[in-house]
């Protein structure tokens, strides 16, 4: 047994007592003077790569906000952690609100994790901004008044790509084979895709549900070949998209590969010679817009690489949240919700300003289809994509590509 001299024990005890008497209130006061904000995003697993971009984006936003005086004069104390999986995400969200004193939560890419955080936010009556989750169900049958949704939903992605494919004559009368992620996001995306195919006289001749831990797609690709479709459609997420794109290029099938979901981080990871086809995106770093380009410059200067779309969406979400709190001069959930439900307009670095739709809390904004640049025209490894025409077109209302009240079963409880 280790024995400590009595004098040292007394000294340590006195020091602890002193710290408690004098230091602790100061520490508590210091914490109270900060605006604590909780951020959760997957940093591991199949969404970990794009999640790490989201974390870089939100950190940059916090630094910029702090440099310009903080929120209501207080610096942001950002707690940013790996959400890991839906159960852990909920536990961490609860801890951030209950123990760490976070006034608001934001983040997440996985629709399954976002759903559990939404439930925690509702229980604690705190606002949560789901930045990267795309399932229609989150802003549909699972919606709640404390949750806001920043990324474009599955229906918009399907509409963006579907419109571009229709213009190329690749939908009507064509046979589609889909590969779908086997969790809430994928199921939801498939549902939106089926609705689109039905409305545009396309035939879905095969669909494979794929577990999120699959890295080798060769058995599925054999099934694609056996079905002989006209178009193969990817409804996967995260680095599964990258793996599929690479292996599809490996097998060299003649059927064009398109997708209803792709993040630019996954496109970069696939590499220039592997990616082809038409895909949707919510944002790309070459977008010619002063707000976007200022963000791209700051991000590239700080991190030495351009931002991915999840970096952008977490960045703008914290920025618009700061704007909302500064405008309402309150962190009260009721006041913030009322402010956003007035459909306040925000500059998010696109041609048209965005707003949260009052009845489903969806951030209504422009989207883009994209194709892949020929390799010899790329300026660098990041310059891979060619954005198509903005969706909806400039003379159409923004909401035309979003689910209508009739299509969306969202009912907010008071």
């Amino acid at each position: 047994m280790i024995r400590y001299p009595r004098r040292r024990l007394l000294q340590a005890g006195a020091a602890f007592a002193g710290a408690t008497a004098f230091g602790f209130p100061a520490i508590v006061r210091a914490q109270a003077e900060k605006m604590r904000i909780g951020h959760l995003t997957p940093l591991t697993g199949f969404l970990g790569v794009i999640g790490s971009y989201a974390q870089l984006g939100v950190k940059l936003a916090a630094e910029e906000i702090n440099a310009s005086g903080g929120i209501l004069g207080k610096p942001i104390d950002l707690l940013s952690e790996d959400s890991i999986n839906p159960a852990t995400a909920a536990t961490k969200a609860q801890r951030m609100l209950e123990q760490d004193g976070a006034v608001v939560l934001l983040g997440e890419i996985s629709s399954a994790s976002s759903l559990t955080i939404m439930q925690v936010a509702e229980r604690n009556k705190k606002v949560f901004f789901s930045t990267g989750a795309r399932s229609d169900a989150l802003r549909g049958k699972n919606c709640n008044k404390y949750s806001f949704h920043c990324d474009i939903p599955n229906t918009v992605m399907v509409n963006a790509v579907g419109t571009a494919l229709s213009q190329k004559g690749m939908v009507k009368g064509k046979k589609f084979f889909t590969l779908t992620a086997d969790y809430i996001f994928g199921h939801d995306l498939l549902k939106a895709a089926k609705t689109f195919f039905g409305a545009h006289e396309a035939n879905l001749i095969g669909d494979e549900l794929i577990a999120t831990d699959v890295t080798d797609f060769s058995p599925y690709l054999l099934k694609v070949r056996q079905a002989k479709p006209d178009v193969v459609c990817c409804n996967l997420a995260g680095n599964q998209v990258t793996n599929l794109v690479k292996q599809y290029a490996e097998f060299g099938f003649p059927y064009p590969l398109v997708g209803f979901n792709l993040n630019t981080g996954d496109a970069w990871a696939a590499g220039a010679g592997n990616l082809s086809g038409t895909w949707p995106t919510v944002w790309y770093h070459t977008l010619a817009n002063p707000t976007s380009q200022a963000f791209v410059a700051a991000f590239t200067k700080k991190y030495g690489k351009p931002p991915e779309n999840h970096a952008w969406i977490d960045y703008i979400t914290l920025k618009l949240l700061a704007e909302a709190i500064n405008t309402t001069k309150s962190t009260d959930s009721g006041e913030l919700i009322a402010y956003f439900e007035k459909q306040a307009q925000f500059d998010i670095g696109k041609t048209r300003k965005a707003y949260f739709r009052s009845w489903d809390h969806q951030l209504v904004q422009e989207a883009y289809p994209f194709t892949v640049k020929p390799k010899d025209q790329m300026k660098d490894q990041w310059d891979m994509l060619v954005l198509g025409d903005v969706v909806p077109a400039a003379n159409d209302a923004l909401e035309t590509i979003y689910p209508t009240r009739e299509q969306n079963p969202c009912e907010m409880k008071a």
């Binding site: 080798d216 058995p219 290029a249 490996e250």
Partner: protein, 291 residues
């Protein structure tokens, strides 16, 4: 037609099994010789992929696939000399802890050197596309991998069975005390086996770099299936691991043919069933020093 499709999945499963073999065989060899379950084995697979991507920018893909396993095997010398060697006779839990820790350190080191975002490389044009043999479709690139794995397998088998090196290693697996009594130092042989094992893992990483996401956590991803293969085959059994790797690939392929959503779960069900009937694995040997 249905039967032909099924057969196509079986053949594709065998090809995939060959790839699993590259990672699992080294894991099994290191366990056999040193009694160490190397949880850091996946890190060498990841390093093989990263070194290959890096070298491809300078010397092209073909040369990189050859060089990167040797580069990683050299790291294997350091790994054996300064880490594993201290744990051959220690409590197994210590080697589990140290290799688990090393796997995490390696993942973070990769993150610090190459960043968290994935890096990418491509298959050379000459190996892209498919070959149709009879009714079967093969990826040209995977056929290349299968040919290399088959050649390596033959080489390793000859090395272990037909050379004095192999005799010492095999004797060392069963009775290291007797080998020592004959005046043979086992340590250089252990170093060589670790080099061989991690080199094979690195070759797997290099081969798969163009067709999978090369990211810092890729080593952890491959370890699960590598362990399943080794456990089904039987720890320490050369042919057990070979049969198991092929079996795992085939079972996965057949399951995906009939019930795609259960594809990944099927290999764990297979492991469960094998362990239920043969807890030692398919061809697991009785190794005296572990009894």
């Amino acid at each position: 037609m249905q039967f032909e499709f099924l057969l196509e999945q079986v053949v594709n499963g065998l090809v995939l099994g060959g790839y699993y073999l590259l990672i699992a065989l080294g894991l099994s060899l290191i366990f056999s010789v040193g009694g160490i379950v190397n949880l850091a084995h996946g890190a060498f697979y990841a390093l093989g992929a990263y070194v290959c991507v890096e070298l491809t920018k300078r010397v092209g893909f073909g040369a990189s696939v050859v060089i990167s396993p040797f580069v990683v095997a050299l790291l294997g010398i350091l790994f054996e000399r300064f880490i594993l060697r201290r744990f051959y006779t220690a409590d197994p839990i210590l080697s589990l802890l140290v290799t688990f820790g090393l796997a995490m350190v390696a993942e973070q080191a990769i993150r610090m050197i190459w960043g968290a975002a994935p890096v990418s490389t491509e298959i050379p044009q000459s190996f892209r596309g498919s070959v149709i043999v009879g009714d079967f479709l093969f990826s040209r690139y995977r056929l290349l991998i299968l040919a290399v794995v088959a050649a390596m397998l033959l080489g390793i088998w000859l090395l272990l069975q037909k050379t004095s090196f192999g005799r010492v290693v095999r004797a060392g697996i069963q009775r290291p005390d007797m080998v020592a009594a004959l005046g043979i130092r086992l340590q250089p042989y252990m170093t060589a086996v670790v080099m061989l094992g991690v080199g094979m893992a690195a070759l797997g990483g290099a081969f798969f770099a163009p067709i999978t996401t090369v990211h810092p956590a890729m080593g952890a991803e491959i370890m699960t299936v590598a362990f399943v293969v080794v456990v089904i085959g039987g720890l320490g059994s050369f042919w057990g691991v070979v049969i198991s790797a092929l079996l795992v690939g085939v079972v996965r392929g057949i399951t995906i043919h009939f019930e795609p959503a259960a594809g990944e779960a099927s290999i764990y069900v297979l492991m469960f069933l094998v362990l239920l009937v043969r807890p030692r694995g398919l061809l697991g040997e009785r190794i005296e020093k572990f009894e």
